[in-house]
Amino acid sequence: MTDETDHDSLIQAVARSHDREAFAALFDYFAPRLKAYLMRSGAAPAAADDFAQDAMLTVWRKAELFDPRRARAATWIFTIARNRRIDVLRRDGRTLPVPELNLGEIEPERPDELFQTREDESRVRSALRGLKPDQIEVIQLAFFQDLTHAEVAQSLELPLGTVKSRIRNAMIKLRTLLDQPVGDQS
């Protein structure tokens, strides 16, 4: 795995000087992962190539919005892919916008302490490592496959109720590890 600050500075080089070599380096690392991500949601290889290309073109266009104080490169690129995938896999085939997670274009109104920071991010990541392997597994499945929980249950050969409670328990555990009470409302 490449050094993560490396990826950050590559995106910044794209933003600063439209650095094509930096872009190519990012492409080499992320495009095959973006392709795999879409294929695990059921897309054919050619469609997944298009998707990876598309997401990487967005990385190029929006590089200026990347803020390493908020998120690391992989998270920022994941959010691009998440927003894009919703459009690609849409069943209604129409072009109405789906709510997107923010990449920094429009800042939602909220108190400063509720903006995502890189420290928040690393807390979530280390909490994730505190989960049991089967809990990590269900959370990963929820991310990478556009599956209903019934399908997750089938692929893990578990009853549906078990999968649902496993996801819920894993999420509650994740929150506990982050010391954020479940259902804490603002």
Partner: protein
């Protein structure tokens, strides 16, 4: 169960992962706009997405994909900050809902009105705004699918308790749902409806052909 008045952990995870259906995402986005702390948690879940993107087994892309992509690079646009024009005139709506055009208000009963939010559908699942006047009760109904509701203003009460601005409720086919507005003002909600609503009782069956939600 619904006592938290926020989406279940599984639903928040699906939203963060981008696997939630578009109509449901619209209602969750409205809720998150009104609950910054939960929105912050969803932001944090993006880090989980980043983590798994890195840990996935890469799939080799087509040999010429990099060359084709480089050929399509243009100078990043100098458009400046993006401004989104609201697509409707209801300034009281949270930002995610301002992006959609709205259908006309339709009368569905005394002091009860509904209008379509022209957001993406998913099969039978679509998004509506529902306004129920003070003191009014919707007809008892059950749902064929899941119904997600976020209160935008006012408040309603069900067997589960009182739901006020920003509160989120999930009701499925098991629930005989009979929300009653308990605020002095009308209760305005955004709802993702999956499947048809079945009105209970003989009056409900008489009304059914006329009430198209």
């Amino acid at each position: 169960m619904t006592a938290l008045r926020q989406p279940s952990e599984e639903r928040l995870l699906a939203y963060a992962a981008g696997t939630l259906s578009p109509p449901e995402s619209v209602v969750v986005a409205a809720h998150l706009a009104m609950r910054p702390r939960t929105a912050h948690w969803v932001d944090g879940l993006q880090a989980v997405g980043g983590e798994v993107l890195e840990s996935i087994q890469p799939a080799a892309v087509a040999d010429d994909l990099l060359a084709r992509t480089l050929a399509r690079l243009s100078a990043p646009s100098d458009e400046g900050p993006v401004t989104l024009e609201p697509a409707n005139d209801m300034a009281e709506l949270p930002e995610p809902l301002r992006r959609y055009a709205l259908g006309p208000w339709r009368w569905i009963g005394p002091d009860m009105r509904v209008r379509d939010v022209l957001a993406p559908r998913d099969g039978d699942c679509r998004v509506i705004l529902l306004s129920i006047g003070a003191g009014r009760t919707t007809p008892v109904h059950t749902h064929e699918g899941v119904e997600l509701t976020c209160v935008l203003s006012g408040a309603y009460e069900t067997d589960e308790g009182v739901f006020g601005p920003g509160d989120f409720e999930e009701a499925d086919g098991e629930v005989h749902h009979r929300p009653r507005t308990v605020s002095a003002e009308p209760c305005l909600c955004v709802v993702a409806l999956d499947g048809q609503i079945r009105l209970d009782g003989w009056i409900g069956r008489l009304l059914q052909p006329f009430v198209r939600l």
